[in-house]
Amino acid sequence: MKIGVVTFPGSLDDRDAARAVRAVGAEPVSLWHGDADLRGVDAVILPGGFSYGDYLRCGAIARFAPVMGEIIDRAKGGLPVLGVCNGFQILTESHLLPGALIRNDHRKFNCIDTRLRVENAQTAWTSDYATGQEITIVLKNGEGGFVADQRTLDELEGEGRVVFRYVVPEGGRNPNGSYRDIAGIANERGNVVGLMPHPEHCVEEGYGPSTDGLGFFTSVLKQVVSA
């Protein structure tokens, strides 16, 4: 079981993503942005960071990296792909996921623990959670406001493709101005998932608020083994 982790110029969380893969007993495989070669991996993670310095738009330049051509083709064929933070931004820029991520409405960088509700526990990356379950993982972003037009938002909700929502206290607001409190979404098939918060930072006691992120990686293991 091999899970590829892509490194772009400016990726930050590729090592933590590889560590999370190792934590569930799978083999992480480093993928280089400049190589159009997925090295036989069974799934791919696009990690967080600031690819190409967030120049132009977050993820806009990374989206055209040679490795992305392969990932886009294979994702359309069902390869499990997880995009975290900058990885989520790259997935929307690639049009593998709809919508876009814009600057937080309050204009400040977030670095917080955030509570999420699992809205869809049937994707490749969330089958080890229960629908309605709440998890706490970390969030760190400056441009994490999820936006899309009303029709797209209605479609996402109608098709069960909202995978995570921020749990917002009564009268409160979500951490970045995301429409309808959306923290993460999936494609129609459920093999491509993107979210702003970081499960890969929450897989080990003593390093963050929980180990609630482990479920992403155990889920994809099962997915690949049963495929």
């Binding site: 876009a100 600057r103 936006v147």
Partner: protein, 89 residues
């Protein structure tokens, strides 16, 4: 040398936090008459020789595929610009 100038703006319905930050600073400088600020992007693409129809067509395609994200932005204009216009005040 020819240039193509491309202007991109956030769609009107998309929140513009940068524009809001600028809008918040203007009154502090005594500019109280402005009710809103929207911030956009300008790209100047240079070519050797004239800006032909082919060059403009390529610039339009680049504007749609890379320079803007159609989910949140509109390409406002793609036009040829004289060299003097770029360097002049």
């Amino acid at each position: 040398m020819g240039n193509v100038v491309i202007d991109v703006m956030l769609k009107p319905e998309i929140l513009d936090p940068q524009g809001q930050a600028v809008n918040g600073a203007l009154p502090r400088l005594g500019f109280g008459q402005f009710t809103d600020v929207r911030q956009g992007k300008r790209f100047v693409l240079s070519v050797d020789g004239e800006v032909t129809d082919e060059v403009l067509a390529a610039a339009r395609e680049a504007a749609e595929r890379l320079l803007s994200n159609p989910v949140i932005e509109d390409v406002i204009s793609v036009r040829a610009q004289q060299d003097a216009e770029v360097t002049a005040k």
